[in-house]
Amino acid sequence: MNDQGVGASPPSSRRLRLLMIEDDAADVDLTLRELKRAGFEVEADVIQTPGEFDRALDKASYDVVLCDYTLPGWTGLDAAFELRKRKFYVPFILLSGTLGEEAAVDCIKQGVSDYVLKDRLSRLPLALDRAFQEQELRRARAQAEHEVRQRERHFRALIENSSDGIALVDPDGMVLPSTPATAAVLGCSLTDRQDRNVFDLIHPEDRLKAQEIFADILAEPSWAVPFQLRCRHRDGSWRWVEGVGQNLLAEPSVQAVVIHYRDITHRKEQESEIRRLNEGLELIVAERTAELEATNRELERKITEQKMAEEALANLQKNTELILNSAGDGILRVDVDGKCTFANVAAARMLGYSQEEFLGRDLRAIGLYTAPGEADGAGFRPVSRAAHTLGLYAPSVRRTENQVIRRRDGSAIHVDTSITSILERGQVAGAVLTLRDESERRAMEKMKDEFVSVVSHELRTPLTAIRGSLGLLAAGELAQQPGPARRMVEIAVNNADRLVRLVNDILDSVRLESESVILTRQTCSAPELALQAAELMRPMAGSAGVCLEVDAQPVIFSANPDGILQVLTNLLSNAIKFSPRGSVVRLESGSDNGNVLFRVIDQGPGIPPDKLESIFGRFQPVDASESRRRGGTGLGLSICRSIAHHHGGQIWAESEMGHGSTFVMSLPAELPESHEGVVSNGAFKCPNATD
């Protein structure tokens, strides 16, 4: 037949496999005809005996069984019973001639699908249809029930095999009957948790959080809200529990808040262990890193120190070289063999070689010294080798003064030398030779000597005249000769005056020569000074028959007024002395490019070009006797120049022989910060002057 337990599906398209249990052939015909008439295509097996029934059932499957109620030796009910025994769920329709109500009901109770009266065979197709429908319904229901049961089984399997606990909780948190797994997780019996409130199980520290979560769960039935809390196990210990809760109160089959949870204590412990290990590891790593960093820093510090030391050394070397090369004296270093290992800039300059040319050279080769007693061709006796040797082997300074050394170009240079040996760890490692250029000093001394000698001469000359004249007078030699006597007195007086002037000028000259002299400055007016100078020289000009003209532009400048006045009077005095009678001496002042200019112009004989500069030297007049005759000291112009220099200015002469001379002084104006006041021009011309 068909598969066990499930009813067959009704035949499709009215084909019918029929098992008919009927002993009356005429009834069979009738039935079959009726079925045909109803549109069924029938394939029928007709049997009578139970044995045939069994065989038929064994061999084939049928869509429907039609059975006569009354059968020889058996009844239709028996067949139905047999069918049911075999669990063949096919429609079984009894056919009967007569059937009482009770009997009918009985049949139905036995599982007969329907019964049809033989004299009402027209009802058969209907009964068949109905039976098939019923069968279909029954089959569908069985299917559905099967599926439900299957689902139930799955569900239960899930629940009962889950390691998670599930708690059902009412809105107040009261625990409802729970699952075996819950019991296992929490270590209690299935019944244990009734009448307990879930919040009592939660760790006091987590209770507030739990209540918040529970409120969330209740508030949103569609959400599964996760949580992680500590719960108390039956054995009293606290367990970490993680889970989800969902509000299924509205779900008719649940009507509770469902909480799934599992014990994560172990995991938590593992996590914390991992954390601890991690921390431990991090600590170790940090320590190691710190060690490395410290080592690194130390290294860096050492490197920096070394670099700094190297830099310091380089700086020191540079500084040392700088110092050596800035020294005014020549410094040379020789090694134990007398070879030069260093020469500073001054030494190179002094001797006319380059610094490099000294290196490795024996100083003897460059003529710096010779063997003792040996002089070179030019008759020089440079630093003796003995001295050099002494320097190398006797650790003391040996000084040799006033050597004349030959320079590269053959010229001579006066030097003051000293040799010191260099000691390194108690051993002589070389020598240092110092050369001091004496040329300038000697030149200076020579100049000084000359000056002293000239001054001495200049002073003695008037002194001689005074001594001589007074001596003659005192001895009464000229008692009878008033003329000469008077002359002697004149000579004494004049020379005394001259001496005064000379002494003043010499003192001025020497004082100005000293650079520590500071001439105090104040605001000066060029016209004022010009007019003042002119006033002072007027008597001299008058007696020389020379006319003085002044043309001064208003210029203000900062200067020492006495000094400027001295220069102007000096220049005017010179001009007057050398001007012929009736000529004009002009004094002009003006400004040019931030400088104040004074000019003294005369119409005298002029100055030869080769003397234009030298006249500003001491005791260097154009014509000495002429100058002396006119009372000059020979120092005037040099004093003027010193004064000009002290003001940061210049003084010079311009002249053409036969066409007079112009002496010009130019000073920086250097106006003071604030100056108020009006300066007027100073100018006047001589009456009847010819320009």
Partner: protein, 152 residues
């Protein structure tokens, strides 16, 4: 016997004093020149008995002039005494050609006698105020003069 002395010195006043001194104290005749060139010319022309020659003259210094005088055979025999305000080593060396050196300031009263002594003439004129000086070089009077090395 009166001597004729040529004074060559660029200082007018000193020339005047020397002339008066020699005239008054010794009664000598004097000739004067204000410059070396002029002096050389006058020496050749006048052939004086002696020449007083100033050393520091602007146009030619006395030592050079001395050289010229000695080089010129006309004047070579004339004794020359150098007059100078400065003492120098070189000067002293040149004194070989000079009959003597007189330092300025000099005593006008003894000038003539100094000259006579240097040149080996008889002392003429009056007694000078100072006596006992018979060196070749006469130093200046007064305590503050420079030291004079005795030279002969």
């Amino acid at each position: 016997m009166s001597k004729r002395i040529l004074i060559i010195d660029d200082e007018d006043d000193i020339r005047e004093i020397v002339e008066i001194a020699l005239q008054q104290t010794a009664g000598w005749q004097t000739l004067a020149a204000g410059a070396a060139a002029e002096g050389l010319a006058r020496a050749r022309a006048e052939l004086p008995d002696a020449i007083l020659l100033d050393v520091s003259m602007p146009d030619m210094d006395g030592v050079t002039a001395l050289g010229h005088l000695k080089a010129d055979e006309q004047t070579a025999a004339i004794p020359v005494i150098l007059l100078t305000a400065t003492v120098r080593v070189a000067l002293v060396a040149q004194a070989r050609y000079a009959a003597g050196v007189i330092l300025k300031p000099f005593d006008p009263l003894t000038l003539a006698r100094q000259v006579s002594e240097m040149l080996g003439w008889d002392s003429s004129g009056r007694e000078s105020l100072d006596s006992g000086k018979s060196q070749g070089v006469h130093g200046p009077l007064g305590a503050n003069g420079p030291r004079t090395p005795p030279i002969l």
